[in-house]
């Protein structure tokens, strides 16, 4: 029978979320899986403040990012912003405290970020990112390991259908050079490339005096996985050719040494063109449709921009909320939160024995709840079932007299009696 409850005077801020226990159970489960994999690859966790000086983010992303930030002036007159991402804070911390640490340095994070954005499906104003930064090496092994780590994390948490695409920003820049278009035109073309809107891209190229043959060739290079063809296309750029040679090595390592079955070449990865350089990759979950990107990463150059001493840098970030959404959409069977034991004192006189039994079982590492509202046994067992209790321990006058307790298996309803001291062993099976 539903009771009517009064409404709250205060609401949750728009675009943010509360997570109740059954949701937090799933989130912590997936978070643990992510952390295990990072540690398995030799990464150590780092944590930075929730807000930073505003300039840290404008230095990285330009003043236009302010429109998407939660920025404010504190009571001391400082311009601050809630962090929209974690790479800039981690690099700031690296420069302040970790430049002297032995290299390579492998740092991972799991944290909330903030974006002032129109709320929509899968996009929130407070959201979570898991990611890492690798400092001090840019060998092909290091790049392959970084990509393998991102892929392994998403596999390890239970995703079945994920696609890994690898591109290179030096190569795409060389491809642009062949088109001989201005920077302004290039900028207009990027959204079409990013969204794989090739017909629109073709039209835009034609409008900007690129010949049909040249436009066709450019479109083919964006889509082909054939590194030979791409190498021939950008052969005038020594840098691009060298990057393609490295990419070939990374692909071989991924397949042969890291057990990644099907890494795909995709030169059409153009996100973060001002920020990343060289290697870039993304992992998608096709099940999510338009919002399918779960992970993005690559080589970048931020340490020297922030005043530190130049060092090779690479990293990636996984959208935690979106990865969870992908798991749910794939129908992943999350383990259920459960309670080991619910203790029911049948009478007032049994309360002391019930509390002692609960305390003993807790000291033995079991999760235990007990009836704190003195209801009848029927209602207490119903509540225990609602808490997903695996066992109930019932203590009434008969049990007190015989110095035993009744142990009820909540799954099949079977009951037996035993001394309190034997409970933990029986429950653990």
């Amino acid at each position: 029978m539903a009771r009517w409850f009064q409404r709250s005077v205060y609401q949750i801020p728009r675009g943010t979320r509360d997570f109740v226990p059954e949701e937090m159970w799933k989130r912590r489960f997936v978070q643990r899986g992510i952390e295990e994999t990072f540690r398995g690859f030799g990464y150590g966790e780092i944590q930075t403040p929730s807000f930073e000086t505003l300039e840290l983010f404008t230095a990285k992303s330009g003043a236009s990012i302010i429109d998407e930030l939660y920025n404010f002036v504190d009571k001391g007159g400082r311009e601050l912003a809630l962090r929209p991402e974690l790479t800039a804070p981690v690099i700031r911390c690296y420069i302040e405290r970790l430049q002297m640490a032995p290299k390579p340095l492998k740092l991972f994070y799991f944290g909330n970020c903030f974006r002032y954005d129109r709320p929509q499906k899968g996009r929130y104003r407070e959201f979570w990112q898991a990611g890492c930064e690798l400092l001090g090496t840019d060998s092909p092994e290091a790049h392959a390991e970084l990509i393998a780590l991102a892929f392994t994390i998403l596999r390890h948490i239970g995703l079945r259908d994920i696609v890994l695409n690898i591109g290179n920003l030096t190569v795409i820049q060389a491809m642009f050079e062949r088109l001989r278009v201005t920077d302004a035109v290039k900028k207009d073309l990027l959204p079409f490339i990013d969204k794989s809107q090739f017909e629109d891209l073709f039209s835009a190229l034609r409008v900007n005096d690129v010949s049909p043959q040249e436009a066709e060739a450019f479109l083919e290079m964006l889509q082909t996985p054939d590194l030979e063809k791409i190498t021939a296309y950008v052969s005038r750029s020594k840098q691009a050719v060298a990057e393609l040679e490295r990419l070939r090595g990374v692909l071989t390592l991924l397949k042969e040494s890291f057990g990644i079955p099907d890494p795909r070449v995709k030169m059409g990865i153009v996100r973060g063109l001002d920020y990343y350089k060289g290697l870039v990759f993304e992992i998608e979950a096709p099940v999510l449709g338009a919002e399918k990107q779960l992970c993005g990463g690559g080589d970048y150059e931020l340490v020297s921009l922030f005043g530190g001493t130049l060092v090779p840098q690479a990293g990636f970030a996984i959208g935690f909320d979106r990865a969870l959404l992908a798991l749910e959409t794939e129908g992943y069977a999350f383990p259920e939160a459960s309670l080991d034991v619910f203790v029911v004192p049948v009478s007032e006189a049994a309360m002391g024995a019930a509390l002692s039994a609960a305390t003993q079982l807790r000291f033995q590492g079991l999760s235990v709840d007990l009836d704190l509202v003195r209801r009848g046994i029927g209602k207490a067992l119903k509540y225990a079932a609602a808490q997903h209790a695996r066992f109930a321990v019932i203590i009434g006058p008969k049990e007190l007299e015989d110095r035993v307790v009744t142990l009820r298996n909540m799954t099949d309803g079977s009951q037996s009696t035993c001394p309190v001291t034997e409970l933990a062993v029986r429950i653990r099976g």
Copy 2:
């Protein structure tokens, strides 16, 4: 040999902290211990947004709290504030989403909070709290369990010397009534009571026309653990006498059923007088001196203030940063972060075998790093030692030829060879 690194252009915001991997390792270790105990007592985790509407906090604590908040207006004109504590958000969420859930409802949280405050030792502008709210029961068992939970958490994480004090705000109000002082005078007296400055308190009472005998009696009641004496002192208040009777029951339960050896009666607990009601308790770590309070809690009444349907409410919050500081001050031996294996390919030719070995060991659940910068074996082993690696796996020309690897115990330097397939078993010992 120290190298000189360039300084960062950007600094961490004043009063906030970065946590590098060795610090995060400790923090996550203690956090896990806290979460285990909450779950062991049948609590489920809840998480709320980092910011709320400003009015949520002013409704609870009055407009004066704004001076201590990070508050700001968002781009949609909403007045928001970074949360200074978690009880108000959790109760807001309870009213919006959980009023219909079976009672009692046991919710715990672990989260960061924000306070615009002059930074000083052990006080930060971003800090962490672990706490819980118990909704739907106020039986003596429930109160005793709540207090036992707070105490058990602090013991479980490894604190040796902690003191539990229990008071009652209904009783202290009845004590004030005997003094016949105005509310304004009462307010002036509170800081002396809070800080146990009894000489100053005596003077203040005398200045306000309280007789020496009455002042002495009041001071005695603030300090005595004798419930009989206190009951006699407040005998004119039926409510206070009833609360003392309940308190007697809670103390008995704590000692006899929950194994808390020495709960102390302390009527001088006056913090949160506007917010808590009835039962109130605190846990201190004397090792921390003036900043010794680790935990505060009790009965309160917030649901109806926020528009929800009245229900018994109690809870507590533990200062996570201060609990860590107490552990460190007590000299707690934190387990050290370590790596299971560091893999060293001695030659370029061994890289493939090294990566494959690392991948296999990772799939078997071990934490594995490997030399990503192609240095000599001596330097690689030095780096492995710096990462606290327990074992090194060395693969050179001889090993490749014999299809084995060399396993080096990094603790004692002993070495032996074996096939890759036997590594995990040997490492797990």
